[in-house]
């Protein structure tokens, strides 16, 4: 069997998730032994339109990008959204709440009219996505899990439970017990509780678990001193595309 041809593409992002792929230093030789990488701007010069698996980093923030995304979808058998920007729009979605005009002015000043932009969205808004590797940046182990699963022809095992699970298994002291707060209770695990293990709090960069308890989140964060506005800001940071991040009409969060 021929080695699968793998292609990397980037849209609106910092390209840090592709860097995470290159950070798989111990496994890189194994990866290039198992697949042929045909496009990877950060690592190689070659280019090709013939590939089986496309990893797409970045958010969909320009209507003119739709064509390029559709072209990738047509070339690839499997499309993998790589990182928070591609999966949920990531931090880029923050601009949607500011207003596009204000954001344009802030970034480009008087030259704002030279550039094209639209509200930031996950790439799923333009094309069908088969697998999502969440995170800002992606965890290396999850990238490897997806590559191995694709090679073996099976569904990758990606968690849909809160970061608390991994945090407890590492026996971290809970941030709430230190009087701080954390989004780990509603955030998708898979990062092995990266931030809480190194003294930070969880920002839910990997998205929200299915059926997360929004009202409990609002109540508990309020108990720890956050205003509704601050709770919304926590959800908007990485999860602005979800209804929960929309302004509540009556103080109740949307599901």
């Amino acid at each position: 069997m021929a080695k699968p041809r793998v292609s990397f593409h980037d849209f609106t992002s910092c390209e840090g998730c592709q860097l995470q792929v290159l950070n798989c230093e111990d496994e890189l030789l194994g990866i290039v032994g198992a697949v042929d990488i045909v496009n990877f701007r950060e690592a190689i010069d070659e280019k090709s339109d013939e590939y089986d698996i496309a990893f797409i980093e970045g958010a969909f923030t320009r209507e003119s990008d739709r064509k390029r995304l559709e072209h990738i979808r047509k070339c690839a058998k499997i499309v993998v959204a790589l990182g928070a920007c591609a999966c949920t729009g990531g931090l880029n979605v923050l601009k949607n709440f500011r207003g596009i005009d204000e954001s344009m002015k802030k970034v480009y000043g008087e030259a704002a009219s030279w550039y094209e932009t639209s509200p930031a969205l996950p790439i799923e808004a333009a094309i069908k996505v088969d697998v999502k590797i969440n995170g800002c940046p992606i965890p290396k182990q999850e990238f490897l899990e997806v590559v191995k699963s694709v090679l073996a022809g099976r569904t990758p095992q990606i968690p849909d439970y809160p970061v608390c699970v991994e945090c407890k298994l590492r026996e971290n002291v809970c941030l709430f017990q230190k009087g701080e707060y954390c989004m780990g209770v509603v955030a998708k695990a898979g990062c092995n509780a990266w931030c809480p293990s190194y003294g930070g709090r969880c920002y839910a960069c990997r998205g929200l678990i299915t059926d997360f308890n929004k009202n409990a989140a609002k109540d508990v964060l309020a108990e720890y001193g956050l205003t509704l506005e601050q709770v919304m800001a926590e959800f908007r940071m990485f999860n602005g595309v979800f209804p929960v991040a929309e302004p509540p009409a009556d103080g109740a969060l949307k599901s």
Partner: protein, 350 residues
């Protein structure tokens, strides 16, 4: 063997004698909390906190690690499978009475239908030095109700009670006796030592009052009566289904098994890790059916496991009253409070 006395000045020597041919793990501070950690250096030994109140994870983690490789495989077919049973001779130092009871529950659960070779291999080479407690660690504990304030009759090797300048050391097994004879610091307890130990336990019983409004023997039946109660939904409204309650529980033993492949897509490892009935995906089966799709049914299931099912299955308590689940619940859900509330639920139905 009759109880022994170990002067506190000889404690380091005692730990040193254990370290000679065992991995020693002991409670140490972790931020504002405590955790069982391996004693590897003299600094670690100095950091042992025999005055700890409650560890984040129970000592269960040494008998059934959070993540454990069960076997490795080099390809298809049984001839390519290599079992991986890991068992290091270990002394767990400072196991509190309720955690000794919890280990007895795990021992029973892992001994049958079928016996779990991974647990048993570790248990066989694990020696346990228990540690008496003088009082509750917090308001969530209710060991007096669950009858776990004192050490169980067996399942431990030594049991230490703090008598101020000395340890009162009870001997629970031949391995415990061997630990005593290996260290020169021990001498037989005298009458005033015995009296001090009796006074310690009396003070403990006085300090740790019962907190359930009923005798715990009625717990399984009270739970059965409350199965259709609105209580579960009311409590679950605050529940994140984050699984912290089960992950810190000393008697929870559910696990998940996954095959982790290598890049050759043929070799790899079979790994088991702690699972939690509180996670939405726990009861999901092929085809997408989920037997406990909503948080209330999952929460009720956990409380039933703790107060009824494990007891019925193993004959040992499913809840030892340690209060860890409630201590670590971000939403402040307390199993003690739930157990208290079901008494009135049942009364309301009559």
């Amino acid at each position: 063997m009759l109880p022994q006395i170990l002067p506190k000045s000889k404690f380091d020597e005692f730990v040193g004698s254990l370290s000679a041919d065992n991995r020693v793990v002991a409670p140490m501070a972790k931020g504002p909390a405590f955790a069982f950690q391996e004693v590897q250096t003299p600094e670690d030994q100095a950091a042992i906190r025999m005055d700890y109140d409650l560890s984040i994870l129970p000592p269960k983690k040494f008998l059934m690690p959070q993540r454990e490789t069960l076997l490795s495989f080099g390809g298809r077919g049984p001839e390519n499978v290599q079992p991986q049973v890991q068992a290091k001779p270990t002394v767990i130092l400072g196991v509190q009475p309720m955690d000794l009871h919890a280990i007895a529950t795990l021992d029973a659960a892992m001994a049958k239908d079928p016996a779990d070779p991974y647990y048993q291999a570790k248990r066989a080479v694990t020696k346990i030095v228990g540690l008496n407690v003088a009082q509750y660690a917090n308001d969530y504990q209710f060991m007096a109700d669950m009858d776990t304030l004192d050490a169980p009759a067996s399942g431990w090797d030594l049991f230490l009670t703090d008598l101020g300048d000395r340890w009162f050391v009870e001997v629970g097994s031949e391995a415990g006796q061997a630990m005593i004879t290996k260290c020169a610091g021990f001498s037989p307890a005298k009458s005033d030592d015995h009296a001090a130990k009796v006074a310690f336990d009396k003070a403990k019983a006085a300090a740790c009052s019962k907190r359930l409004p009923y005798d715990a023997r009625y717990l399984p039946e009270l739970l059965a009566n409350s199965y259709d109660s609105l209580l579960w939904n009311a409590v679950a409204r605050r529940c994140f289904s984050c699984g912290s309650c089960t992950n810190v529980c000393p008697t929870c033993y559910c696990f998940d098994v996954q095959d982790k492949l290598g890049l050759d897509a043929a070799s790899g490892e079979r790994v088991r890790s702690w699972d939690s009935c509180q996670l939405r995906v726990f009861a999901e089966v092929a085809g997408g059916e989920n037997f406990r799709e909503h948080a209330d049914s999952r929460l009720r299931h956990r409380v039933f496991r703790k107060g009824k099912f494990i007891l019925e299955r193993t004959g040992k308590p499913g809840c030892v009253g340690c209060g860890r689940c409630s201590t670590h619940c971000v939403a402040g859900i307390s199993i003690l409070e739930t157990f208290q509330q079901i008494a009135d639920e049942a009364a309301a139905e009559i």
